[in-house]
């Protein structure tokens, strides 16, 4: 078991003929992910990745032809909103958006569009997900992970890799690693994923990686306190970030005294979550 993706997940890559799209689609295929189709308007009929993956003009045609049930978005930021609608209307169950730099207003509209539609969005500005040994949808390097019992949910891509790496050093594998992205408005939040980990029999313990900005970590803490039976270890990045300065992620900013690392750490600790001082401490805290 795992959450969100497994070996049966059939992925269509929107923007597969772009440099990043093609590189990572190839990496995914090499990892064993079922990359069944690509979409680039105007390039339908082409074949990529050693002539194994057909390219379509529309997600609709791609889904009809290949039965894709998951879409991975690599298109430039200005086309992301439309790409999300297109994937949703084509009937995939999961949309993973890697693209960073999407305007907040676009995402607010997209989120409103998806509300009550039978589809989940992960991202944007996220590394995607990895179910070690089964499937990777996104850009998490596959070779650094292995199957196991730890579920990871994170706002940050590269920090997730660090944590996976640290777990590996400690001999711990992962059930599924989920990057929810660091943007202020994201399709999936901590609580959505925590709920899935709580229900997933393979996952025994969970690592939550947050960062300054917003109050998603505080809400997650409340959820954990009220609903989680599995142990959770946390890490919050940005303890040394100065207020008022945006730390790369559109969401990572301490504004008006809100969203500080100290507040988040306190909230998590109050919910019984052990909080690591740096990523490599995490395996030890998992016990």
């Amino acid at each position: 078991m795992s959450i969100l993706i497994n070996k049966d997940t059939r992925v269509v890559v929107q923007g597969i003929t772009g440099k990043q799209g093609l590189f990572h689609a190839t990496q995914m295929a090499e990892y064993g992910t079922q990359v069944v189709a690509g979409v680039t308007p105007g390039k339908g009929g082409a074949w990529v990745i050693d002539g194994k993956v057909p390219v379509f003009d529309t997600v609709k045609r791609a889904v009809e032809a290949t039965g894709a049930n998951c879409s991975l978005i690599f298109v430039p930021a200005r086309f992301v909103e439309d790409a999300i609608y297109e994937a949703a209307d084509a009937g995939v169950e999961l949309i993973v958006c890697i693209t960073e730099g999407v305007p907040i207003s676009d995402m607010m509209r997209a989120k409103a569009y998806l509300e009550n539609k039978p589809v989940r969005l992960l991202g944007p500005n996220c590394p995607g997900l990895l179910t070690p040994g089964e499937s990777k949808v996104g850009i998490i390097p596959g070779h650094i992970a292995s199957p196991g019992r730890i579920g990871i949910v994170s706002k940050s891509g590269t920090l997730t890799y660090e944590v996976i790496h640290a777990l590996q050093q400690a001999g711990e594998g992962q059930s599924t690693c989920v990057g929810i992205g660091g943007d202020p408005v994201a399709g999936t939040n901590f609580i959505d994923v925590l709920e899935m980990f709580e229900a997933d029999p393979q996952t025994e313990k969970v690592v939550l990686i947050g960062e300054i900005g917003g109050n998603a970590e505080e809400q997650a803490a409340e959820y954990i306190k009220a609903n989680m039976t599995k142990p959770v270890v946390g890490f919050i990045a940005g303890q040394t970030a100065p207020p008022g300065k945006r730390m790369g992620h559109a969401g990572a900013i301490v504004e008006g005294g809100e969203g500080t690392a100290a507040d988040k750490i306190a909230a998590l600790q109050a919910a019984g979550v052990k909080v690591a001082k740096h990523p490599e401490e995490i395996p030890g805290l998992l016990g």
Binding site: M107, S156, Y161, H165, H249, G251, H278
Partner: protein
Amino acid sequence: MKLHEYQSKRLFAKYGVPIPEGEVAETPAEARAIAEKIGGRVVVKSQVLVGGRGKAGGVKLANDAAEAEQLASQILGMDIKGLPVRKVLIDPASNIKEEIYLGITNDRAAGMPVMICSAAGGVDIEEVAKTDPDKIKREHIDPVFGLRGYQIRNLASGIDLPRALWKQFGKIAAGLHQTFKNTDATLAEINPLIIDADGELLAVDGKIDMDDNALYRHPDLEAMRDPDEDEESEKEAREHDLAYIQLDGNIGCMVNGAGLAMGTMDIVNFFGGSPANFLDIGGGAGPEKVAAAMKIILSDSKVKALLINIFGGITRCDDVATGILEAMKLVDVNVPMVVRLVGTNEEEGRALLEGSDMITATSLAEAAQKAVAAAAAA
């Protein structure tokens, strides 16, 4: 990106919000001329992109044009929280009867903008929200259906605005929303929106923050950027599409990914060091970008050691390694370098760097500790 008060107010005015008929001066003489044109008492307001101008002495009342000139000469050239004052706004002084707060910002949790209104304007609204939350009225704005007339009436009714002002308030609230929406703002606020002695509403101060990710849609607004807003090095970083923020420490950090960059700063701090900057080279950075990033970090003379921490995902370690080598040809690297490469193409990357003069590390803790030690030894 932040806009100055005068820029924000002019945008509001474009959407029908009444503002004082002021003008901007860059010299005391200009300030005098404007004050003469306005006549009577004027306010001389420093235009800097930082809060607390008033307390810092950057906002003053002048009784006449001569005094305006004199105050302008004091204020122009002041340094407010590290930012030089290069412009002052000369506005006619208003007779303030009431001060209202009216603003729009994004509510992340709700995933939509929220219009906030309070009869207790003119002060720090976050303070009011904490001490007297009932005085703050909120209406969430659906991102597709927009701000509706009844929502504005809910706010007017909620703050007990005199009914005679509802129509005017409705236009101002709608105008503020139009400004917010059409500029892709993350914050648009009027504080205070005053009721003056004639019983009219007037936006005497204004503020707009824009969503940097949406600036491509607004070249006209991008052109309003104040070059003084950021450090030189931050500007250069932006030109190379790098997220860079200069800090006060002595360990330069070059990291990929915002979270890991923050995490790296944190661990440097945890091991007793002091980070000189936040720098995220972003996803999929190629050699040119890496070289530019190194140049920018090393242009800070405080930097005593350089810590490069790359965990390859979308960024490829071999690209980073190539970038480091390129940069070392262009930049004189006169501080110790600690390099850690893990992830996508890590072996290719490490192979490329073999033989170069640098300290390598495998774990993050090891890399941080080595960088702290190197900086301390410098």
